[in-house]
């Protein structure tokens, strides 16, 4: 395993400083209620683009930075700390992986530079129903001479509201899965924004005989789809790690300042030991997340197993920590005014994004033929 380079540490510190300054949790609160319409704050996303974040995984020949997953993961971790609402993960990891791992040169040349400079944000539409089942996609893609026609419905597409590009999973006639690029304003595409507990701009999408050009196909095959999804899952795991770390630190700080029975509640051993055990869980989650990011970067043969390990462990860890955050804060943790609830809600949604912990445990088990 590689340790973080000086460059990585600088990047992480910069992301930490920026989110604390420009996109702290109150920024998410300010967007609440409007997020279903505007999706995210375009000004904030433009600032991220200026710092080169959407371009991290994009090769230099397409206007990108050509850095690795660890770098993007570190940024996601910092965004996760402050629950920053943005289409960064789906653009920089989702759409970019769909393009770079695919075979469509024209689409790479047309789209990657726009994603790199932040002018085009993207969402990844995978699930057709309430559970993540990427090997049984019901949305179909029919091939015609003039191009493709997509039909189906996509459920709870994360951060889709406000983006310009959809990357859509559909089943080809030979039943293999494929990813298509589809401008959001294409005829037949209907987005309905959802008001979800995490206040982010998810949307249901109906695809009613959507006609796309012959160049819309980005790549196909189960391995291709799995690799693209793993690229995003690893980044989501990093985001969950960041959320967990912040929830933990906030809780430990509260334990030092909240006075009951004339002493800080953090002096009570029952609470100290829960915090100490939780610290251990975060040690495991961090090891799994960094391990997965590095495994992808290194092209390890077992990278997808590492990703499932990370997504499952980080998912369980974030949910547990968010529950503990509320319990240890007591009544104040149940109020909307306090941030604890925001972390619990985000933990729940992120766990269910691209496969929850149970999904990834099962996937891990099958990879080991258990």
């Amino acid at each position: 395993m590689i340790v973080l380079s000086e460059e990585d540490v600088m990047l992480k510190d910069m992301a930490n400083g920026w989110t604390a300054d420009r996109a702290p949790v109150p920024a998410l609160r300010a967007l609440r209620g409007q997020l279903a319409d505007t999706g995210f704050d375009p000004a904030l996303y433009a600032e991220m683009a200026e710092m080169g974040w959407p371009a991290i995984l994009i090769p230099e020949e397409f206007g990108g930075v050509g850095m690795n997953r660890v770098s993007l993961g570190l940024i996601a971790e910092e965004l996760g700390r402050n629950l920053v609402g943005s289409p960064l993960v789906w653009s920089a990891a989702g759409a970019v992986s769909a393009l770079t791992l695919g075979t469509n040169q024209a689409a790479k040349e047309a789209l990657l530079p726009q994603i790199a400079n932040g002018s085009l944000a993207a969402a990844l539409a995978i699930d057709d129903e309430n559970h993540h089942r990427p090997h049984t996609i019901s949305t179909t893609a029919q091939k015609y001479e003039s191009g493709w026609v997509l039909s189906g419905a996509k459920r709870a597409v994360p951060d889709a509201t406000g983006v310009g590009l959809l990357v859509i999973a559909a089943q080809l006639e030979d039943t293999s899965p494929a990813l298509f690029s589809c401008p959001v304003d294409t005829a037949g595409v209907t987005l309905t924004s959802l008001d979800r507990i995490d206040s982010r701009g998810a949307a249901d999408i109906v695809l009613d005989n959507v006609s796309l050009g012959p160049d819309a196909l980005l790549g196909q095959g189960q391995d291709y789809l799995d690799t693209v999804l793993d690229s995003v899952r690893a980044i989501l795991a990093a985001e969950m790690l960041g959320g967990t770390a912040q929830a933990f630190e906030t809780t430990v700080e509260y334990m030092k300042t909240r006075i009951q029975f004339d002493q800080p509640i953090g002096s009570f051993q029952a609470l100290q030991h829960r915090a100490a055990d939780m610290l251990g869980e975060i040690v495991l989650a961090r090891a799994a997340v960094y391990g997965a990011l590095q495994a992808i970067d290194a092209g390890d043969a077992d990278a997808s197993r590492q990703v499932s390990l990370a997504k499952a462990i980080a998912g369980d860890c974030f949910r547990t920590m968010a529950r503990e955050m509320i319990q240890i804060h007591g009544g104040i943790g149940m109020t909307d005014e306090h941030d604890a609830g925001l972390y619990l809600k985000r933990a729940h949604v992120l766990d269910h994004t691209l496969g929850n912990a149970a999904f990834h445990r099962e996937r891990y088990a099958r990879m080991l033929d258990i």
Partner: protein, 394 residues
């Protein structure tokens, strides 16, 4: 860097091919005193021990000046990987290697290092740890074994407990009280030859029938002054350092398993599989998978820490967390193993139970001490609360 690693990997492979006796493949370290009475290690085992000792690879990262391997942590990791691949193992172990050696390298004087380290490297001298006392377990600094300065020697009186292998050890590293007016600041670190008159060790039988933990009594034991490590009353500082080595040693030992083997293999044999080839008991299967994931993540955490130390950074993961996680994962492994065995996991001794079954059952019982020794789970949590999290005292 990567090229150097590759070169070293090749060297290690070549050396193992030439030197590791194939008859020992898949074998493991035998504590010199845990063998059945009357049996002795095979000639190949002794040969392997002698070759590893000569190479210094029994302690790959210790300085070659004292007979160690002089390798970097990364090289030692590669060596361990190659040894696993070759079915090889380190034939030399024990507390001298895990705890005293690293402590002595840091706090011992030149004479002490030259005298004690090389025999540890060669596996010639067995050490035991005289820390806990009947009244000083988790509250270790409450220890009362007295050490009086008699001018040309120290005089020791008192009792230790849970001294592993004291009855068969050659030497003991011991915490003794040199000042009764203060607690931590009145403790010194002493090396005691177990053959000295007045030292007596009595084994205590544990729940799994083994008895390598002892009560050790010191009655008017004379210890030469040259056996004091560090200064008088510096013992607590040295002990804390040694306990870090213990935690680190205990956690790295736990990085046992190749994730593809072990429990699933056992479950297929004792529980069977369904038509799809999955372990037949769905609930058990889930818990096995959950355990394996924790184990793999824990292994990554250890690797991550080693890489950080290697790069000259402080480890991000606290040692106390790793000790608790390692103990927890290992206990979980043992729980699952006996669950998988069913009735076969209830045996005290044969007939009716295979040796493997008896070992797993005994191992499960013994595993209960993982969260007690080396500082209990609760003591580690106290340390974490205070030092890592900065939480106030009660």
């Amino acid at each position: 860097m990567a090229l150097d690693e590759q070169q070293f990997r090749q060297q290690a492979q070549d050396w193992l091919t030439e030197n590791f006796p194939p008859s020992l493949r898949g074998g493991r370290f035998i504590m010199p005193h845990t063998q059945e009475e009357g049996s002795s290690p095979s000639a190949d085992y002794l040969l392997w021990k002698q070759r590893m000792a000569a190479k210094g690879w029994s302690v790959p990262t210790w300085p070659s000046e004292y007979g160690g391997g002089g390798l970097s942590i990364r090289q030692a990791e590669i060596l361990a990987e190659e040894m696993t691949r070759a079915g090889a193992f380190n034939p030399i172990g024990g507390l001298g290697i895990m705890m005293l050696g690293p402590t002595l390298l840091e706090y011992g004087n030149d004479e002490q290092k030259a005298r004690h380290i090389p025999p540890i490297v060669r596996g010639e001298v067995e050490w035991c740890q005289g820390f806990s006392e009947p009244g000083a377990g988790s509250d270790l600094a409450a220890l009362r074994t007295r050490c009086e300065d008699k001018g040309d020697h120290f005089l020791i009186n008192g009792q230790k407990i849970w001294t592993s292998f004291a009855h068969v050890s050659d030497w003991c590293f011991c915490l003794v009280r040199t000042d009764t007016s203060v607690k931590q600041a009145g403790i010194s670190f002493l090396l005691i030859d177990m053959k000295t008159p007045g030292v007596e060790a009595r084994p205590i039988e544990l729940i799994n029938g083994v008895s390598h933990f002892c009560e050790t009594f010191f009655t008017d034991v004379k210890v030469p002054k040259e056996n004091l490590v560090g200064r008088v009353n510096q013992g607590w500082e040295i002990a804390k350092r040694l306990l870090q080595h213990e935690r680190s040693g205990l956690s790295s030992q736990r990085n046992v398993a190749n994730v593809e083997q072990g429990l699933p293999h056992l479950a297929r044999e004792y529980v069977g599989t369904d038509d799809a080839g999955r372990i037949a008991d769905a609930d058990l299967r889930t818990r096995i998978v959950q355990h394996m994931m924790r184990q793999e993540a824990y292994g990554l955490a250890l690797k991550h820490r080693n890489a950080e130390i290697e790069a000259g950074q402080d480890g991000t993961a606290p040692m106390s967390s790793l000790k608790n996680l390692g103990a927890g994962v290992a206990q979980e492994l043992n729980e699952l193993a006996v669950e998988i065995l069913g009735h076969a996991g209830t045996g005290n001794r044969g007939p009716g139970f295979s040796n493997t079954e008896l070992e797993l059952t005994s191992g499960w019982l013994y595993s209960k001490c993982f969260s007690i020794y080396g500082g209990s789970h609760e003591i580690q949590n106290n340390i974490l609360a205070k030092r890592e999290l900065g939480l106030p005292g009660a």
